[in-house]
């Protein structure tokens, strides 16, 4: 696809790895050298990911036109073709060919914004960690490894590679939180978080292996083999493809051809593979996206983590879960999505409203933000549940918007805590007088969070609600003898409550922490922030404003990214 000679995506993934190895070989006493290498690597990946984003954005119009043409053609493998055509910066090497495992990377309209987000938060994270003096070498090395894993997931087009990077990200995260986190909570929180996420992902892994096996069985039938040959002839999948493959394009092809919808799976008359495994795969990954009732790790984890890790964790890692759930769940098991998302939407409603309520009740500044993430990530899953173009585009935008916003929030919290040494909201006050930058950034983040027009939050949340409303007539839930229809409109009204509560806690925190009287005797040393911290705030705050004013820089791209997913949902 791409004319670029440089393997840009591989560079993005492996520059952090190489930098981490170099850092491990440096002398631990030379902290500035360590920081220098880390910042250089972070800056390099940030620029590369920006280049990828801009490069992809330039071809979005063309991709959209092609996709529309493909969809209009009514081809039986239209969705797969749309997916394959939308990919850019592809690299494909064999890894374990006998098991159909390849190193296949590339971006489409869904992953390109996520790559950019990761690039931004990485740089911000390294900068905000400037003052870490305890084993700086290990901190930076593990942080960069974590980042490599995150990038890897977003660019993976092979389910095995995706799992490889997904699990790769988990261990450094554990160690970062356990070692450099908040003393009182870090051991408990880091272990809880790791185990939650791992349980979800390994169950999903077994599901994916089973999925590959079912696809293999399908491609071995006469009908399936014909589909495979046709796809190879059409240039959709690589000529070397075998029936047993972890490649996402191949699996999408199987999904579109209905390989996972054959009833009688496991000997049960009404059961299909998709119906059985969808909840395990979607919720298995959804654990990392904080889906209720498996959100429990998230606030503790975010609070316990050091600032940079909170930023990357809430900002990027939770999206990792949502992204993988969308890819492996909705895209590959569309029939399961149609069967299960109508009830999973209730879980997302609980996320939105309950998360916001709990956030309102917190005294600890960082817990407020932690629970707000649970609430906002609920909106992402809710967007998936709409299964229409408006809602899904909103979900994609919300992933980006919430990522930048929550990273900004955690940055602000970290900066206040570094100087005040407390996060107890009632005992803070008037900080905007001493830290105007932080105060301003927090207000921008807060306004984004409550969906103020002109900021990215509005651009993201409005389509989700519209999408829910639009979906209301299409979706009915059948459970036993009970038939529920038109209930999405009820859910959307209830979910809107979450916005009101969000406004309440954002205003409360802003009022109590940043406004009011500043207690100079209690906090004599609080001053303005360093230049690196200002860079962090600008880096994360600017996208919120840009996206809010110019949604056109991202919305069409995400729409093109969800196109194939919707095509497959419609066709299934």
């Amino acid at each position: 696809m791409s004319e670029l000679v440089l393997p840009v995506l591989s560079l993005i993934v492996f520059i952090p790895v190489v930098a981490a190895v170099i850092i491990l070989f440096l002398n631990g006493e030379q902290r500035d050298l360590v920081r220098g290498v880390a910042v250089a690597a972070a800056l390099a990946v940030m620029l590369l990911s920006l280049a990828v984003y801009v490069g992809y954005n330039a071809q979005v119009a063309e991709v959209t036109v092609n996709q529309d043409a493909t969809l209009a053609s009514g081809s039986p493998m239209a969705a797969t073709q749309m997916f394959a055509d939308g990919l850019a910066y592809e690299e494909h090497y064999e890894w374990v060919p006998s098991l159909g495992i390849g190193y296949h990377v590339g971006v489409d309209g869904l992953s390109a914004p996520m790559v950019l987000l990761t690039g931004m938060v990485t740089l911000a994270g390294v900068l905000v960690s400037w003052r870490i003096d305890d084993r700086t070498r290990e901190f930076m090395a593990f942080f960069l490894l974590l980042v490599a894993g995150v990038f890897g997931v977003f660019v993976s087009l092979d389910m095995f590679t995706l799992f490889f990077f997904y699990e790769l990200a988990i261990f450094p995260m554990y160690l970062l939180i356990a070692t450099w986190g908040w003393v009182e909570l870090r051991q408990y929180a880091s272990m809880k978080l790791t185990l939650y996420i791992l349980v979800g992902s390994v169950v999903a892994l077994v599901g994916v292996i089973a999925m590959v096996l079912v696809a293999d069985g399908f491609f071995r039938t006469v009908e399936g083999a014909a589909v495979l040959q046709q796809a190879i002839a059409a240039g959709i999948i690589s000529p070397a493809s075998t029936s047993f493959s972890f490649d996402m394009v191949n699996l999408t092809l199987a999904a579109e051809a209905g390989a996972f919808d054959v009833s009688g799976y496991g000997g049960v008359e009404t059961l299909t593979f998709a119906r059985l495994w969808f909840p395990f795969i979607f919720i298995g990954f959804g654990v990392l996206a904080g889906i209720f009732p498996f959100h429990n790790w998230s606030p503790d984890g975010h609070v316990a983590a050091p600032t940079a890790v909170s930023m990357i964790h809430a900002g990027v890692l939770m999206k990792l879960g949502a992204y993988a759930a969308l890819r492996a769940g909705v895209q590959l098991l569309p029939e399961g999505a149609q069967a299960h998302l109508p009830w999973i939407v209730f879980l997302t409603l609980i996320n939105v409203v309950y998360g916001a309520f709990i956030a309102f009740r917190q005294r600890d500044f960082k817990y407020v933000i932690g629970f707000s993430s649970v609430s906002h990530m609920g909106l992402v899953s809710m967007g998936f549940a709409t299964m229409n173009v408006i809602g899904m585009t909103g979900a994609g935008l919300q992933m980006f918007s919430h990522g930048a916003m929550t990273a900004l929030f955690f940055g602000c919290v970290g900066m206040v805590y570094d100087q005040a040494h407390t996060r107890d909201i009632p005992s803070l006050g008037g900080f905007i007088k001493r830290m105007p930058w932080v105060g301003l950034a927090f207000v921008i983040g807060g306004l984004t969070s409550m969906g103020m027009p002109g900021l990215s939050g509005f651009i993201a949340e409005y389509p989700i609600f519209t999408g829910m409303w639009a979906a209301s007539e299409q979706i009915t839930l059948q459970a036993g003898g009970l038939v529920l229809s038109n209930y999405y409109s009820v859910i959307v009204v209830l979910a809107a409550l979450g916005i009101v509560i969000t406004a309440a806690y954002v205003l409360r925190v802003t009022g109590q922490v940043f406004l009011g009287e500043f207690n100079a005797t209690l906090y004599p040393d609080v001053g303005d922030i360093s230049i690196t911290d200002r860079v962090v705030l600008v880096l994360l705050g600017a996208p919120l404003l840009i996206l809010g004013v110019l949604p056109g820089v991202m919305a069409p791209m995400i729409t093109s990214g969800v196109g194939p997913v919707l095509a497959i949902l419609g066709g299934a």
């Binding site: 890894w95 790769l168 051991q187 390994v202 169950v203 077994v206």
Partner: protein, 499 residues
């Protein structure tokens, strides 16, 4: 048995011949070298073993399955034997390497001598194709290990370790021998490749005695690989024996026994074997699956409460045997995946466990302690020791980019393909439990503070190699080298089905 061609048969036992020569050289060196020069005994052992590890790759097995059975049908020279011999010889070399600077036995020639003899036994076991050779090989492997476990005679724990290992081992050998004799009694055959054909008729279609023989043999193997519920000897033996010996027992003995187990089961009780209307394979597949579940669960749950790092690794190795048994159960799919995943798993496990034990050896040499709590602050005392231990534990836990991720993935993949999805689920959930206690150890090394953390731990050059080599292999197997080694294991697996 066609005509016997001595020269053509020699490559099949090239490692064994080499090991015998090496043992004699060590015996002489032990007499002639004195003082500081005795250190060279260890180096000679290491280099000799490394050199011999190349022999199976130089004299590759013949392509034709018919000519693989050599030495009067005693030994089968195939790819499975090749891969396991390389694994065992490299494991022995690393064991010798980590022993060089130990105070207790680093300079004692007989230590290396016995180690080489045990390696000889393990190599024979991985190629054995005859009931007589099965038993002889296992005893040649086990008896030196009993001695090694009790090598620190003046240490009560070491003596206990050797005694326990001997009693349990002898018991297991007796059970297995009983099983083997039933098979021989029925058929009058000792070649494991000839047994399957004559067994139904020879046993008079009576299924119970055949199952009894099978069970006895599997129980014997269960002891050797340290799988639950036949694991009782492992924790005490692991804790009491000199640490390099523990390392060797945990990998070489286990690997050789697994090689023989899969060869034996596939050859003697293949899918085609039906006695009295009962498919025998279904029985041993259930047996393997059952042992896998018990081993994984029991090993992991008991490991949770351990305070001694060697005991923790002992329980962890019980669980690891359980994972590998998933691959054995997956043989029911009749594809190469099951055996291949076992082969890859043991290959990566050998290096992983040796890495973990190497860290334990160097740490306890420096500090005299083997408790987990004393690992506190290890990251500050020796960043490399801590990092290597972390890599080893992550690999045991199955986290990328280490070899363990691929190892577990191949196993679970094989299980799902063999229609044993439930077993794969039990496996992955167990992997999570295991990760908990591995992470605790990592946490202790990186997070906890200790009063000694300003005393760095110095590493000798030999120690550096003993860490760097397996560490590198574990990382390579977890990334680029996974493919060639897995393909190799697939070839080894195919060899079994071609018989």
């Amino acid at each position: 048995m066609a005509g016997f061609d001595f020269l053509a048969s020699l490559p099949a036992i090239a490692p064994e011949v080499g090991l015998t020569i090496l043992a004699i050289i060590i015996l002489f060196l032990d007499v002639y070298l004195s003082g500081e020069r005795r250190r060279n005994i260890a180096w000679v052992t290491v280099l000799g073993l490394l050199l011999l590890a190349a022999t199976p790759l130089v004299w590759v097995p013949p392509a034709d399955p018919a000519s693989q059975l050599v030495w009067g049908g005693m030994v089968r020279h195939d790819t499975l034997a090749q891969i396991f011999r390389v694994m065992i010889l490299l494991g022995a070399a690393l064991t010798a390497l980590m022993s060089i600077d130990t105070k207790a036995h680093g300079r004692q020639g007989e230590f290396y001598l016995i180690l080489v003899v045990a390696t000889l036994g393990a190599c024979l076991v991985s190629a054995a194709a005859d009931l007589v050779m099965v038993f002889l090989g296992l005893e040649t492997l086990s008896i030196p290990l009993y001695i090694l476990a009790a090598f620190r005679r003046d240490d009560l724990r070491s003596a206990e370790s050797g005694m326990k290992y001997f009693l349990f081992g002898a018991f297991a050998s007796a059970l297995m021998l009983f099983g083997l004799s039933i098979l021989y009694g029925f058929s009058g055959q000792t070649s494991i490749y000839a047994l399957a054909e004559v067994l139904p008729a020879a046993s008079g279609e009576a299924v119970l005695p055949v199952l009894a023989a099978l069970t006895l043999v599997v129980v014997g193997f269960g002891f050797k690989i340290g799988a639950a519920p036949f694991h009782f000897w492992t924790p005490d033996m692991y804790e009491g024996a000199p640490t390099p010996v523990t390392a060797f027992v945990s990998v070489a003995s286990k690997a050789a026994s697994f090689a023989l187990l899969v060869r034996f089961l596939i050859a003697v009780f293949p899918q085609s074997l039906v006695v009295g209307g009962h498919e025998i394979q279904a029985f041993w597949v259930s047996l393997a699956a059952l042992m896998a579940v018990i081993s994984m669960t029991l090993g992991n749950v008991l490991a949770l409460s351990q305070r001694n790092i060697k005991r923790l690794l002992a329980y962890s190795s019980i669980a690891q045997a359980g994972y590998a048994l998933i691959g054995v159960a997956a043989i029911q799919s009749q594809t190469e995946q099951g055996v291949a995943s076992v082969g890859f798993y043991l290959f990566m496990y050998t290096f992983t466990n040796l890495l973990a034990f190497a860290v334990v050896v160097f740490f306890s040499e420096a500090t005299g302690s083997e408790t987990i709590a004393d690992l506190a602050g290890l990251n500050r005392r020796s960043p490399w020791l801590a990092l290597m231990m972390t890599i080893a534990l992550l690999s045991l836990g199955g986290i990328p980019p280490t070899a363990g991720f691929f190892g577990k993935f191949f196993l679970f993949n094989a299980a799902v393909q063999a229609d044993l999805t439930w077993l794969a689920i039990v496996g992955v959930l167990n992997a999570i439990i295991a990760l908990y206690y591995y992470l605790i150890v990592i946490k202790v090394m990186y997070v906890d503070r200790s009063a000694d953390e300003d005393q760095p731990i110095a590493l000798s050059r030999a120690s550096g190699w003993a860490l760097a080599l397996p560490g590198l292999v574990v990382l390579l197997l977890g990334t680029v080298a996974a493919q060639p080694v897995f393909e190799w294991a697939v070839q080894g697996a195919l060899a079994l089905f071609q018989a």
